[in-house]
Symmetry: C2
Subunit: 392 residues, 2 copies
């Protein structure tokens, strides 16, 4: 942590990619101890409890006061709005079940590794968000004829690659104002007020989009006549291979399936153990581009694939689907894998396409499992276990 | 993740200490993405919201069913009990505010580094736990004359250093049965049913002890006539320098103070920035050995120390105290530190005493801060910020 005194650029350096053999850095560890993923066994919950939902906070969780909170809606509008929480709660509310994934999910498994929050595969969660449709608020304010984007500002303040900023992102007005896109200004998560870390008292929810669009601690919406070119829009969250490229923006979530690793784990390695015989395999699958229509499981590391049963709930088009199948485990070290395909034909790759930010990477998940018979207890000693549960 | 096929010992290896220059391993990262600490700005909350409270799950979060849950209390007792949740809820309940810290907090900063969950300093949280005093349940069951320990078994199942086990720990009966120790069989956290990751539907809470004693997903209490010698009691959670030593057991929490890092952070380095002038410094301090009587802050990396104001709430003797002071920041790179002293005279060291497990390490926290004036906005461009809040 020794750093040279100086201005912000001395402590806030450009984005970088790790050297080919560079192990995880102390800075990446410091992010991993704060932010956290979904423990994969929590895929069993249709609705992720707030403390198990993935969390990525760019700066600090701000010290917000719901009682004094105002959301302003201004810029290129005919009738600017200044809304308290009570004013928002007085408007017609909707609740949407939404699967949210970090754009950097899977980044830490890329080679070379983009140096940032080191997600392996677990940066996901599903919650029910309640709030006011953004389309209704925009209709109330009346976009000016020349408005093209809505810019959303959060209350979290920090510095990133030398740029001091409040977290700020934009959406095309066509997306923000489209009732069918279900963009929400949300004040509740799973029926309770937003927890501090998920945006209390207000956040944006943009179903189908990666997490960077869902601005937390939302305090300002500004319609603009030109596209927003701020840090989080044009420096961060771009898919580029070379630092000089403009790159493509990160937008909708690519399809992904995850498996709740079967059996039980070793503490240190998280390696899995199952008993020989039938083993239920279950998990979730989602895509921001369209419904997941197929989930396939491989028992041989990705050579052969068989279809799993996919259960979608038409009442919740923005939420993950459940999937399940049964695997007959034979003794030895086994290599499971799972992949999803959505209605647009998008599927998951077996080798990860690389970009400098590690964004929108949806490499198939691989789960190594040791299938072994139950051990004999040592003579004269009570075993420190009972039979493990049959389901993951 | 390539591992040799074989029995459990092939994937579940002995504890080890990292090589002198060994960076964080993929296994440690996998633990860090699941388990998580308290984001230090959340020290502002008297009661930590569940999703911000530190979390360490040894194996998987088990799939428990509150409706069918039974807690058995047997072994060396006169009247064995078998209790449903309703039976527990029908008994007189107490609520206790308790600060809980992982025994391995600070481990990842030790040299050489014990390879395990890589905590930096953030494995702490405070919650109000509601449940039935264990002393009352033990009185109801009637310990046999030869009972010396109470052994607690959770429902989480895994393998650790080759030993397949349900998580299990013991307490001396003198501690377990002492009403003044306030040991609880808890079914609620901050007024709500326990979240899955914090032990739903039942957990043990042992005020003043490190986290390993607070057995989650509690299903069985067994009184024994001999001390328990299982894995988590005699292999893990011992303070030893050499692997062959029996070592000393990990028990009560050593004193520690933490500071909510002031100002605002850089995203990647978490380095802090403040403006010149008065800066409020706030945080928490706790000890399992006795009340915190003194908190000192250093502005020069630990050479000189000045007292902070300590605010204890006598209604909550098991919870952390708040502390605050004001620092006058001058431009440049500054090195803050904070340390706590408790009523027994225990305080925090400036260099960490080392043990193989990285347990009960309470090295003083150091916070590096760049004090810099607000930057001038670039001409013709709206700054991506407003003034940061004055409080951390």
């Amino acid at each position: 942590m020794d750093r040279t005194p100086g201005d912000l650029t001395a402590l806030s350096t450009p984005a970088r990619v790790a050297d080919p053999d560079e192990a995880l850095t102390p800075d990446e560890l410091a992010l991993a101890t704060r932010n956290h993923g979904l423990p994969l066994e929590a895929l069993r919950h249709d609705l992720t409890p707030p403390g198990l939902h993935y969390l990525l906070v760019h700066y600090d969780i701000p010290d917000t006061d719901p009682d004094g909170w105002h959301l302003s809606l201004g810029g290129r509008v005919l009738r600017p709005l200044d809304l308290t929480l009570d004013a928002l709660r007085a408007r017609p509310a909707v609740t949407r079940r939404v699967t949210l994934e970090c754009a950097g999910n899977g980044r830490a498994r890329l080679t070379p590794r983009p140096v940032s929050q080191p997600w392996l595969v677990e940066a996901v969660g599903t919650a029910e968000w309640t709030g006011v449709p953004l389309a209704a608020l925009l209709a109330e304010a009346g976009p000016a004829e020349d408005a093209v984007e809505a810019v959303f500002t959060g209350a979290d303040h920090g510095v990133e690659r030398g740029v001091e900023q409040d977290y700020r992102r934009s959406l095309p007005l066509a997306t923000a104002a489209d009732p069918a896109r279900d963009v929400l200004v949300a004040y509740a998560m799973n029926g309770a007020p937003l927890p501090p870390q998920h945006g209390s008292p207000l956040r944006l929810v943009v179903p189908g989009w990666y997490g960077m669009a869902h601005v937390k601690w939302l305090r300002e919406i500004t319609l603009t006549a030109t596209p927003y070119t701020g840090f989080q829009q044009t420096a961060a969250y771009r898919i580029r291979r070379d630092p000089g490229e403009a790159g493509e923006p990160v937008t909708l979530i690519e399809p992904r399936a995850l498996m709740a690793p079967p059996g039980f784990p070793d503490f240190m390695t998280r390696a899995r153990v199952v008993r020989p015989g039938p083993v239920p395999l279950t998990g979730r699958a989602w895509s921001g581009h369209g419904p997941v229509v197929r989930v396939e499981v491989s028992e041989d590391g990705g050579a052969a694939w068989t279809d799993a049963e996919v259960v979608r709930d038409p009442a919740h088009p923005w939420a993950w689907a459940a999937w399940h199948t049964t695997w007959t485990a034979a003794p030895g070290l086994r290599h499971l894998a799972v992949r999803a395909t959505d209605a647009t034909g998008r599927t998951q790759p077996l080798t990860a396409p690389w970009n400098r930010g590690g964004f929108a990477n949806n490499l198939v998940q691989r789960v190594e499992v040791l299938c072994a018979p139950a051990p004999e207890p040592a003579p004269g000693r009570e075993p420190e276990r009972r039979d493990p549960p049959a389901t993951p």
